[in-house]
Amino acid sequence: MDKVRFRIDGIEIEAPPGTMVLEAALDHGIFVPHYCFHRALSVAGNCRMCMVEVRLPGRDGKLEPARKPSIACATEVAEGMEVLTTTPLVTEARKGVLEFLLINHPLDCPVCDQAGECDLQDFSYEFGEAFSRFREDKLIKHTKDFGPEVRFYGNRCINCTRCVRFTQEIAGSCDLVQVQRGGHNVIDLAPGRVFDHPLSGNVVDICPVGALVSRDMLHRVRVWHLERTPSICPHCATGCNIEIHTQDEVVHRLKPRHNPEVNGYWMCDFGRLGYKHIHAPQRLLEHRWQPRDRAEGGRLGFQSVIELVAEAIRTAGPEGTWALASAWLTNEELWLFRRLFGTEQVALIARPPWQERRFYPVWGDSERNPSLPRQRERGRLLEDGATFMIAADRNPNRTGAERILGEQACAPARLDAFVNAALAGQVRCAVVLASMPDYLPPEPLAQALAAVPETVVVDLADGPLAGAATIVIAGAAWAEKRGTFTNGRGRTQRLEMARPTPGQARTELEVLHALGTQLGRPMGPCSPRRLFGELVGEVAAFAGLSWEGVHHQAPEWSPHMAAQPRRLPVLSPAALVRQRGGGAG
């Protein structure tokens, strides 16, 4: 289909027909203020903020000045159209809309969690007026908790209905509706519902004002203090692109980062709240030695603990040493792991999937979601019509482990082999690099680890794994590492360090590097970037990738992925709701 040629503020633009003026403008760096428009949602056109002056060619081909402004979000581009975003007509229209929006909006920015990242603040500052002619009483609307993650402040709501459309079109749950009418118009829960959908947190992100706020972060920090680090969510094999928001090295929230090929604009609540283990009270902050047969032991410095581990490995000899890596290690760590322990006497531990059964994409029900066909036309959907996917595999880097250590090493059979060998007394030393939150080793594995004379565990928190160890090394959480994860569909993405490791904790990269040096192996560089370079050179599945290329939003897919796209098992939201009700997550 031919592209439509038109002009916005004098800039020649080509866009496919059916594109809305607002999208075209935003794509070309012309900012038009808007509230209700969201690229992932259907067009509502009710905020009236994105009004522009549209001049269409008349019969004689000349442009006729518009009598009244049009909303850019619902105006399709047309051949020869001239769009003006800064005329007096538009400026006055914006001022008018902002005045109307603000008359019933409370001036509670100081206590509003959105303050600092609020579109109403920004647009009022940029396009609005400094005074209001409103002298009447403001309307009072209700404030209530919509669900476990979301609180609603009706007074602040500007009725853009992004949240309503989100629940209809993306989540598919239709939990939120608009009730009342006129000035009393307000968002509310659909009768009998609780907004506990696994995607509920996203309405907080898309709410342009402070009407929907996160209960998790309620009153905790002010957003202008937050530092933002781009990273990858580790809680399932989807590998959502996220931002880690920290203040003073404390993680306060995670936000999705737009990546059209992975997670769109969204992330699930499990991932969103999945930073708590970083600051858990059980977090290991120092290295320990707790021998099985003797009473002594206690805390150790890093160098001492590495010497102790090296001694244990030397004593056990190559035949008596097994090493277990977790699917939460980065590719770089796995690469060092492979160089240190090879691929024979190693196995992979991972968190069990959400459920035994594997689900396939069921979202995007077009019966409930009439706008879906249109979205599919615009390429907004992920594969199979799913609006969002949560992978059943609750580990971020199983694919990476399979590529680096080999499919066999990562198969459950290998773990069984380890268990059998350990129970048979053939294993003298086991090194476990776990660093997984909420990991409960299966009973045989726990028994096996307890049966090994020297068990070295690198982990995040005190738990059954650390309890079974003779040497415990405090490891680093994913937010404390640099490196790459390869998600369930084979896409390699980079995560960045958002905070330093607490206490004496070390990243697994440091642990492996120090251990190798202590064992007298040539270890070479320890920087993730250079290790990734080695990985690209040595492992075929990573060939062609570059450290810069896997960063942020660069849409680089690994050749492996391109050759053989994998279908990712995902879950139905209903199943997740049931699981959350059972206390999972």
């Binding site: 009153h219 002010r222 202008w224 203090h225």
Partner: protein
């Protein structure tokens, strides 16, 4: 020792004069524009850096200047009354807009007016304010400061916090800076800030204090100093 009275700049004199000046300099007669040694009226110096022309050696003894200086200091000593104030017995009136220590204001029921918006913290250039936000125990507001601390040692009394406060909760009173003998005492907690401007200080700045001189303190609207 004899020196030309008005040594000319070297470039403007004849050869004879130049050699004389050079000889004088070489003889080590260069000296001292000041003071005591030459009371007998002996010519004593040939400055290496040439003095401005038109000043005789008598003038360059600066005896008159020394004498007048001594006279002036003596006059100060004997005649003039010191103009210092006898702090702390005697205190100058503070400008009502003087920025002294902070007060955290409370409402009629003794509750903090602060809603813990952290705008003061954001505005503070010296980062001396620390607030821990919590859900408020009262139904009419949502958040309040569980902890509110100002490190008076870091504070530069710029008043930005007062400007930033949306609910008039923090204010800089004219109360001057306190002095303590340990650092911990300088970190004012919420209770201390709430009671940081007690009655006697208010009286003091409203003219009720004994040796206060100058106009009495009056806040704008009459209630600036009141705890509200």
């Amino acid at each position: 020792m004899k020196a030309p009275e008005h040594p000319s700049p070297a470039g403007l004199v004849g050869p004879a004069q130049t050699s004389a000046a050079a000889g004088a300099a070489a003889s080590g007669a260069a000296g001292e524009p000041a003071a005591h040694g030459a009371a007998e009226g002996e010519p004593d110096e040939e400055p290496e850096s040439e003095p401005p022309p038109g000043r005789s050696w008598v003038e360059r003894l600066y005896l008159r200047e020394i004498a007048s200086g001594l006279a002036r200091t003596f006059r100060h000593l004997v005649l003039e009354r010191p103009f210092t104030t006898d702090y702390p017995d005697e205190q100058l009136p503070y400008n009502p807009r003087a920025r002294g220590e902070h007060i955290l204001k409370v409402d009629e029921q003794g509750r903090e007016k602060c809603v813990a918006c952290l705008l003061c913290e954001a505005a503070c250039p010296s980062k001396c304010i620390r607030i821990v936000v919590g859900p408020s125990p009262w139904p009419d507001r949502e958040r309040y400061p569980v902890e509110f601390e100002i490190d008076m040692l870091r504070c530069i009394y710029c008043g930005y916090c007062e400007d930033a406060c949306p609910c008039d909760a923090i204010e800089l009173t004219p109360k001057p800076y306190s002095v303590y003998d340990n650092r911990e005492a300088y970190i004012y907690d919420k209770e201390k800030l709430k009671n940081n401007y007690p009655q006697d200080w208010r009286e003091r700045f409203s003219g009720g204090y004994g040796k206060l001189t100058g106009p009495p303190y009056r806040g704008e609207g009459g209630d600036r100093s009141l705890i509200r």
